[in-house]
Structures are given as structure tokens and as C-alpha cells.
């Protein structure tokens, strides 16, 4: 489903990804691990740009419209499924059917009581869950999520990750928290300085096996 061979990518003169080759099949649940600045986000957004019509995306910054309610922010995931008139009607007077559907999703993330709160008034963790919920509502075959639980406590993080794995057949998660990454995925790709330095099944991997991905940057030279 996702396929990269020897691809390099960078901003201006700074290369971020160096000759990356990747092959991800439908149905795989993959964790991208690596230090911040290693190129995980760039890799995810590159994949998103290439496969936008099939992918839902949870960016690192929740990218919400602050003056709209959680309900409307989540509804945006399906703006393409309805005509503009229906969308505008739902903007002014939320439709019962949509409210019910979104309420169910919010419930699974523990955010039900915030459904009509303006996104700008939420805490960082709540905003992040709203962004996750928008992606769940959008649906589709694959989800790309960039640190989707970085601001959540363990309980909420597990709720979010279970919901994401349940809703999407294919999943690529950029994660900081190694233990969570190992618990919800079947394959780990380690990125360091823009290169793939590890690509292995999760089964049997331990924290220690991943330590070298995070090893001090100076060691490589």
C-alpha cells in the first residue's frame, strides 16, 4: 500500500530523509520510532501527501478550528461525503444523525461531555483526542498518526490507541513512547538521522533492542 524506494527528501538545503526504502502492506500496523528530529514527521507527511485520498491523518499539532465546537471539528472529517448545503445546515443546526454518530466516537475517547465545547477552550490533551476523533470519523483504509497520544495520560492514551487500531486496517504511528508503540503494533521501523536503521516485527522486541535507535547523535560519524 505504501511504497518508497531510495527516496530522499529535505527542506531547502537540509536533507531530512536520506534514501529511504519502505514497503508497507495493507493490514499492517506499524510503529515509527526515533528521536525527535530524526525524520519521523517528515516521513509521515510525505506518505500523507502521496496517499491523501485514502488516508486519515493526525498531525502533531492538532490543527483544529479553535472557534468551532468539538462536534464540528470532528464532522470536518466527512466534509467530502455531503453536499455543501447539508454541510452548512449542519454547521448552523447540528443534525441529529451526525450528533449521534460523533457522540459515540467521542465516548470511546472519553470526550463525550465536551461535544459542544469550543475547541479553543480545550486542554492540550483534549485537543489531541479531538484530532484523533476527527480521523476516526473520516475513516478510510489507512491512518497516519504523528505522536497522537503525546499529551495524554496512560488511560487516555490506551483508549485512543485501541480506537485507532480498531478503526483502521492499516496504521502507521509515529511514537515517542516505546512501550505503547510495542503494545499496539506488529512492526517497528526505527528512524535515525533520516535513515531506516531498524525494521523488525514487534514480537519479541524489547525496550533494550530499540535503545540503539535513540543512541546519541554524535556516535554515527
Amino acid at each position: 500500500m505504501f511504497h518508497l524506494s531510495e527516496e530522499s527528501f529535505g527542506y531547502r538545503d537540509t536533507p531530512v530523509l536520506k534514501k529511504i526504502s519502505l514497503q508497507i502492506q495493507p493490514g499492517e500496523k506499524v510503529a515509527l520510532v526515533g528521536e525527535s528530529g530524526s525524520g519521523k514527521s517528515t516521513l509521515l507527511s510525505l506518505l500523507y501527501q502521496r496517499h491523501r485520498p485514502d488516508c486519515a491523518y493526525v498531525p502533531q499539532e492538532p490543527a483544529l478550528v479553535r472557534s468551532l465546537s468539538v462536534f464540528h471539528n470532528v464532522y470536518m472529517g466527512q466534509l467530502d461525503r455531503h453536499n455543501s448545503a447539508y454541510n452548512l445546515l449542519n454547521l448552523a443546526w447540528p443534525r441529529k444523525k451526525q450528533v449521534a454518530a460523533i457522540r459515540t466516537l467521542l465516548k470511546s475517547l472519553g470526550l463525550e461531555d465536551k461535544i459542544f465545547t469550543r475547541a479553543g477552550e480545550l486542554s492540550g490533551g483534549q485537543q489531541q483526542r479531538t484530532a484523533v476523533c476527527r480521523a476516526l470519523f473520516q475513516g478510510g483504509p489507512a491512518l497516519l498518526a504523528d505522536e497522537p497520544v503525546s499529551a495524554a495520560d496512560l488511560n487516555h492514551a490506551e483508549q485512543s490507541l485501541s480506537a485507532m487500531t480498531a478503526h483502521f486496517e492499516t496504521l502507521i504511528l509515529a511514537m515517542h513512547d516505546v512501550d505503547l508503540a510495542l503494545a499496539y503494533t506488529q512492526r517497528v521501523i526505527g528512524i535515525r538521522h533520516g535513515r531506516v536503521v531498524l525494521d523488525a516485527p514487534t514480537q519479541g522486541l524489547t525496550r533494550q533492542d530499540l535503545a540503539f535507535v535513540y543512541r546519541d547523535a554524535g556516535a554515527e560519524a
Partner: protein, 499 residues
């Protein structure tokens, strides 16, 4: 022994250059007082101001309602058109059209519209709506660019543009658009009042009559009502009531917008055609010879002297505005004043801000006779108060260390250096507005472009009127782009609303 001094920053050098230019302009400007006894007249005015007579004007309420109605209709129409134009603002021709319509002052639009629609409500409404559409389009489109780009990039691939607009682009910037529009409405009230000076039945009309007849108590009452109207704006201009107001306003203005096609046709096919070309043999060499002479005359006798006078007056007024603003802002600033002082400072600045330059200039002209002096004082007071107000608010946000100096030392060492960039940005934004206004003040008898336009109008030479207005607009657009370049060169912030 030579003492080493730090080099002045670019912002200071630019300021000094502008001051130098203004001094050079002062040398050629006519600033004489030509009235025989200005002081007696001033005393009478002051007395009038102290004894306002609210009962002397039977049509006061009517004038008030009409002033508000013109502003409402004009701004509602202008802002709506501006909102639509903002959607296509990235397209060159729309941008140029907007730059042109806003470079022409409301009163000049009224001059043109009077020829087509006569002295009808439509003339007043469109005179406000047309330039405001251009201004709003620019500001709205700049505002919409601040919409959250990240959320826009995340929408599902097939979302329609309309849905994307209302869900993502509009919501977060809506409050800015609302604030700017209500600020525009306040400007609209001033424009509407001033349109009375050219015959529309608003406050300006009664003001001119009262001043003309020396009835200063009546004039004072009219002005005070006007201040009250603006000061209480936030109490009666509620978003919920707005639809009601907009629906009611056209009825309050009455009928009479009967548009005559023949007028429209005559205006475009006869009136504005340069005189030498009208009913002339276009094949004959003499026709074109005559046109060249006509243009030569218009350029050398009217357009050029008018433009020079406009620029001279603008440069003096700009620097005078800047100096006054520096003196005004401490009056409302927490850094310098206690609560009582600030309250008084606010009243003082609100009165100056709310009085249109045109009315101030008209008053000073009655006192001192026609020269550049009344215009400079009027422009500097009004604009100085606006910039002083903005600077005062800005200075309140500055955090100083607890042991910072006080008084004049605080002004010179702590505050002024911190807000100087902002100050210059405000002034450069104001530059073009001062020039628009300067051209208009010609109507009062000062030899700027407006003077020649007004003369041509009273001789019913509309071909000259239109050409001179085009020159005025070009000059304005030129200043606007020069100001933008200077702001970019000095890296002054480019997002300032409400100036």
C-alpha cells in the same frame, strides 16, 4: 577630541528625512491668516460651544436618523461587496479595481454619482459603499489569510470549497472581520456626516448652515449629538439588532432613487468625453491638436499645481500628525497618567478622533481664512488623536522593570524606543489616508486637487472632473505603494487594523 557616537538606526534616519522634507515644504507653503479678526470669531465659537442649543434645530432628529441610515446602508453594501471581492482578491484585476476605488475619496465619488443619480439617497449610499468595498476587500482578504492553514490541509480530499470556507477559513477569523466591520461603521458615520457638506440631508448639511450663519450654539449642539452618537455606539449597535437596522434604514432615507437611463447614458457618452472630442470630426488633425492643447492646459494649469500643493500639504500634515501623536499618547497611557488623568485624556482624544478632518478644517477655515494652515491643523489634530490613541493602548501592554525611571526619562529611555517601530508603522499607514483627505480639503478653498475638481464641477466641466479625479487616485496609489515599500524596508509590522 572626537567623541564616538553610535550610528542612528534606519528608522530614525527615515524619520529625520521626512522631517527635513516637511521643513522644505513649509518654506513653500502658504500658512497665512487672512481673516481680519480671528480672535473675536474664536471667542464667539467658544461661547457657542459652552451654550449648546439643542432645541434650535427642528430637523435635528431627522438629520441624525439620516446620518445613521446612510452609514448603515453604505457600509452594509460596501462590506458585503468587499467580502465577495475578497474571495477573488488574489486575482490581479480585482486587486487593481479595489486599489482604484479606495483611492478615490467618498466625496469625489459623490461628485460623480450626483451627475448620474442627482441628489438622491442612492448617491449617498453608493458614495460610501464604493470606496468602502475596496477597503474592506483588502482588509478581509488579508484577514482570511490568517485562517488555520494546517486544518485546511487536513480536510478530506474531496471537500467542496464552500464547505472548506465556512468550516475552516471563516470561523477563526470571523471575530476580526466583525470588529473591523464595526470600526468601518464608525468611519461610515463620519463619512455620512461629511457628505452633508455637498448637499445630502445628514448632520453635515445642518452643520454647514449653522456655521455659515454664525449660529455657533446650534453648531455645538449638532457636534455634541454626533459625539454622543459615536460614544454610545456599542450600546445601540448590537449584532442582534443589525438585521433590523439594515432593513429599516432604506425606508428612513425615503424614495427618490429614480434612476434615469438618459442621465447615465449622457454621463458616459457626453459629459466625461474630453471637450475637444465631443461632436468633433475624429479624422481631422485639428481635433487632436485641440485635445493635446486641452490636456496640456489641464496638466500644467490644474493637475500639476494641484498635485504639488497636495503633496506639500500632505508632507507637512504627516509630520505634524506624528509630532502631535507623540504628545498625545501619554495622556491615555498607564505608564504616565493616573486614572483621572487618563479619563480626561480619553475624552479629549475621542472628541478629536470623532470629528472628521473635514469639519475641523471647515471650522478653522472660518477662523483663519483659506490657507494651508487650517488644513494642517485639522489633519494633524484628527490623525494625531487616532495614532495617539493606538499608541497609548499599545504602551499599556509594555512591561517595565519595577525600578524603571519615571516621567520624561521613562518616556525617552523606556517607552519611546519600544514603540517607535509601531509608531512609524501607524504613521505610514496613515500617510495615504492623510493624502486622500488633503485632496478633499481643496473643496474648502485650499489649492489642492480638490479645489480644481470643485471648480471644474461648478463650471460643469465633467470631463475635467473625471480626469482630475483619476490623477488624484493615481497619486494616492503611488503613495500607498511607496509607503508599503518603506514599511517593508524598515521591517515594520504589516498587520494593523483599525487605522
Amino acid at each position: 577630541m572626537r567623541v564616538q557616537r553610535p550610528e542612528y538606526p534606519a528608522a530614525v534616519k527615515v524619520s529625520l528625512a521626512f522631517v527635513g522634507l516637511a521643513l522644505a515644504c513649509l518654506a513653500v507653503a502658504d500658512l497665512s491668516i487672512s481673516t481680519l479678526d480671528p480672535w473675536t470669531e474664536l471667542q464667539r465659537m467658544a461661547w457657542g460651544l459652552l451654550t449648546p442649543d439643542f432645541l434650535a434645530i427642528p430637523s435635528l432628529w431627522d438629520a441624525l436618523l439620516k446620518t445613521v441610515s446612510f452609514a448603515l446602508c453604505g457600509v452594509a453594501l460596501g462590506a458585503s461587496a468587499g467580502f465577495l471581492l475578497a474571495q477573488a482578491f488574489h486575482w490581479g484585476p480585482v486587486r487593481w479595481l479595489c486599489a482604484f476605488v479606495r483611492a478615490v475619496h467618498e466625496i469625489f465619488w459623490a461628485f460623480i454619482l450626483l451627475q448620474i443619480f442627482g441628489l438622491t439617497p442612492l448617491t449617498g449610499i453608493l458614495a460610501i459603499a464604493i470606496p468602502y468595498a475596496g477597503i474592506c476587500a483588502k482588509v478581509y482578504s488579508e484577514t482570511l489569510e490568517e485562517a488555520p492553514a494546517a486544518a485546511l490541509a487536513l480536510l478530506p480530499a474531496g471537500s467542496s470549497r464552500i464547505s472548506a470556507f465556512f468550516f475552516v477559513r471563516l470561523p477563526d477569523v470571523w471575530v476580526h472581520i466583525k470588529n473591523y466591520t464595526s470600526y468601518r461603521f464608525e468611519c461610515g458615520l463620519r463619512s455620512s456626516a461629511v457628505l452633508g457638506f455637498i448637499g445630502l440631508p445628514t448632520l453635515g448639511f445642518h452643520l454647514e448652515t449653522a456655521f455659515g450663519e454664525g449660529l455657533y450654539s446650534e453648531a455645538a449642539a449638532l457636534l455634541m449629538i454626533f459625539y454622543l452618537l459615536i460614544a454610545t455606539l456599542r450600546y445601540w449597535m448590537r449584532p442582534r439588532l443589525l438585521p433590523l437596522y439594515v432593513l429599516a434604514a432604506p425606508f428612513l432615507l425615503g424614495a427618490g432613487a429614480e434612476m434615469q437611463m438618459s442621465n447615465l447614458l449622457r454621463f458616459f457618452t457626453q459629459d466625461i468625453i474630453p471637450a475637444p472630442l465631443r461632436n468633433a470630426d475624429l479624422g481631422a488633425a485639428e481635433t487632436w491638436q485641440a485635445l493635446a492643447e486641452w490636456l496640456q492646459y489641464l496638466w500644467s494649469q490644474q493637475a500639476l499645481p494641484g498635485m504639488i500643493a497636495t503633496v506639500v500639504l500632505t508632507q507637512i500634515a504627516l509630520v505634524a500628525t506624528g509630532l502631535l501623536a507623540l504628545g498625545f499618547f501619554p495622556l491615555i497611557s498607564r505608564q504616565f497618567m493616573g486614572p483621572v488623568g487618563r479619563r480626561l485624556g480619553h475624552v479629549f482624544l475621542v472628541v478629536l478622533r470623532s470629528t472628521p478632518e473635514f469639519i475641523l478644517a471647515y471650522v478653522f477655515l472660518q477662523l483663519w481664512g483659506p490657507s494651508m494652515l487650517p488644513a494642517v491643523v485639522a489633519l494633524a489634530l484628527h490623525n494625531g488623536a487616532i495614532i495617539g490613541h493606538l499608541l497609548g493602548r499599545y504602551s499599556d501592554q509594555l512591561r517595565l522593570r519595577p525600578d524603571a525611571s519615571r516621567g520624561i526619562n521613562r518616556y525617552g529611555y523606556e517607552i519611546l524606543p519600544r514603540l517607535y517601530g509601531q509608531y512609524l508603522a501607524f504613521l505610514f499607514y496613515r500617510w495615504e489616508i492623510i493624502m486622500r483627505e488633503t485632496a478633499i480639503l481643496g473643496i474648502l478653498g485650499i489649492a489642492t486637487l480638490g479645489f480644481y475638481i470643485d471648480s471644474a464641477l461648478s463650471e460643469i466641466r465633467l470631463d475635467r472632473v473625471v480626469l482630475l479625479i483619476l490623477f488624484t487616485a493615481t497619486l494616492n496609489i503611488g503613495i500607498d505603494s511607496l509607503s508599503r515599500q518603506i514599511r517593508q524596508r524598515l521591517r515594520l509590522s504589516h498587520q494593523i487594523r483599525e487605522t
